[in-house]
Structures are given as C-alpha cells and as structure tokens.
Symmetry: C2
Subunit: 205 residues, 2 copies
Amino acid sequence: MEFASKLLENAVYEISQLPGIGKKTALRLALHLLRQPTIQTNNLSTALLKLRGEIQYCKNCHNISDSDMCEICSSSRRDHSIVCVVEDIRDVMAIENTSQFNGIYHVLGGIISPMDGIGPQNLTIESLIKKAQDGEIKEIIFALSSTMEGDTTNFYIYRQIQNFDISTSTIARGISIGDELQYADEITLGRSIINRIPYEKTLKK
Amino acid sequence: MEFASKLLENAVYEISQLPGIGKKTALRLALHLLRQPTIQTNNLSTALLKLRGEIQYCKNCHNISDSDMCEICSSSRRDHSIVCVVEDIRDVMAIENTSQFNGIYHVLGGIISPMDGIGPQNLTIESLIKKAQDGEIKEIIFALSSTMEGDTTNFYIYRQIQNFDISTSTIARGISIGDELQYADEITLGRSIINRIPYEKTLKK
C-alpha cells in the first residue's frame, strides 16, 4: 500500500502488529482515530502505556494485579488450600463469573507447547510445586484446555506433586448444558459416557 | 466482565472504543501487548499520538499529508485540470494503485448522509466549488460509492457546478472483470446493459 503520509504509514504498521489485525483493518482504525477528537487517541495511548508500564503480577498466583497481591489471594473469605490451575487471566475471569469456585488460582501464563518453544521453565510451575512442598495446598484442580498441550501440562505437574498429600482433579468434560447430543463431537460424547455420574448426584444440585 | 486490575480494565475499555472491536477482542489485544516487549506498546502509543497530533491535510485536495500540500497536488507531472472526487483517503489509495489516473483528487471527507447527521457543510464541498469558480478545473470525475448517499452527494455538487464550463463524469459501474453474470446482482447487471459501450472501444485498450 502507498500511503500519503509517513505518520499514517507508521501508525498503520504498528497497529497491524497486533494479532488478527491486518493492514486494511489497521488503516480503518487509524482513519477512525483521525475523525475522532484528539482526546480519544490520547486516552488510548495513555491507557496502553500505563498498562504495559505499571501492571504487576500477584506474587502468589501470578494473576495480573494492580498490587503485588491480587484481590483473590488477599481475601480471607477464600479457601487458600484449594488451588485451581489455569492458563491465563481470561480463564480466571471465566471461572469467577460462574461464582462456583471459592478457592484460589494459580496462573501458569501458558501451557507446555514444544511447537511454540514453551517449556516448563517458561511457566510458573516451579512456584506451584514450591507451594505444594510447603504443605499449603490440599487440592489442585486442573482447568487447562483439553488439548494435547493441556494434557501434557497437567501430567507434568501431576508427576511432580504426586508424592505429596494433595488430591488432584480436572474439571469435568462433557456435553454442554442445552446442547443436542446429535451435534456433539464423538470424543466429547464418548468421554461423557465413560465419565458418567450417578443420577442421584445430579438431583442434589 | 470483572477485571483483576483497573489498569487492564481501563486499557480494555479504551481499545474497545475502536470500531469493530468488542470487549473480548480488546482483552485479547491487551494481554498480547503484556506478553510482548515493552518497546512494542511504546511504539504503538507513540505512533498513534504522532498521527493524531501532527497529521496535516493538503490545503488543495484535503488528502492526509505530512505537509500542507500533498505529493500528488505538488507534482508537476499530474494534470491539475482533471479532479477526481472521492470520499476518503482509502479511495485515493485504491485509485492510485491502478495507475490509470493522472489527474488530482478532491477528498470530501465523507458523503452527505442526513441519517448520520452529515450535511454538505461538514464536507469539503465548498473548496471544490471555489476551485471550479476559479476556472482551475476542466473535468470532474465523481468516484463516490454508488449508494443513495453517494448519488445525493454527486447531484448536490453537480447542481452547483453545472453552469461552469466543466465536463462531469462518474466512474463506470458494471460487472467486475472475471465475474460470472449469473452471480451479479440485478441492478448492476441492468445498469451494465443500459450503459453498454461500443465493442470497438474495448478493442483499442
């Protein structure tokens, strides 16, 4: 693309560095900002700079936080002996939205994926093992995505903590509530039959 | 959505102000920036601030420019008596990419659209009329989108310049090259029959 302005070209280039945003979308966004009051661009730039420059991570669970200990980890109403292991902050937000979990989290910051060059040393696994060693944890719930990489990560962590007195579980996989059986994929349907639960248990809910 | 951090919440809010970007995408982009080196966020913010703060518009054609006269308008190799009227800078880029036009442009900055509260006074129509009055223009080519708003804008400008000695034309509408007739919409196909051109003319190309 030929741009009439170096400033525009540069802005389009920087915007298109974001994932999922191509040159055409970047140009559309840049032209949109030009049509809006200057304050909008200033606010956006400041918000990004502040986010990148001032963000902190909870020293306990590695979740994004405005201080060195996140709200969940510093809450006395949460059960600190149950730890839910998740990939990133979005999973924390998703689980928090269900209001079904009262423990704390451990954010790995990714999953083991040799294809992407991510090994255990790139994740926060070590600090999880340390917490387990210190006897702070009674139960670990694995809530990683059910992919090859997720399963590998689960197993890697499991092997290191299996000798401690910690119960482990993974979140249940099955047919989504409201979904029709005929449209479910075979693996999920197969697993949901293998991992069937006693009917009485569902009545107690 | 519940955010663990005010900084993150603020950044997501500002990103989601951009058109076509919702809260989920904004969160994905914000988390992406957090995983990248700080320099990328700095570059993006600086590029946006510079774009919004330092951009200029060509005083002749109102195109985006780094100086007060754009490259096209300051070129002596272009025919300054033929003016192509377009909606915004993206149309200039599209036409420039064809290398088929050697005149100059006039960027309206939008089209007349009462629904969006855009009237003739919000566009750069006045300066186009002035150029026409001054006798600088021999031909005006309307290259606006063929919508109700585009047609209205064409007609509004046409009525104001019809008494000057200026020939006017609109870009040809028809079946795209390579397109199959059966998939063309009726209006385009109908117009392409009404505006058929002598076969000999196509041979000269």
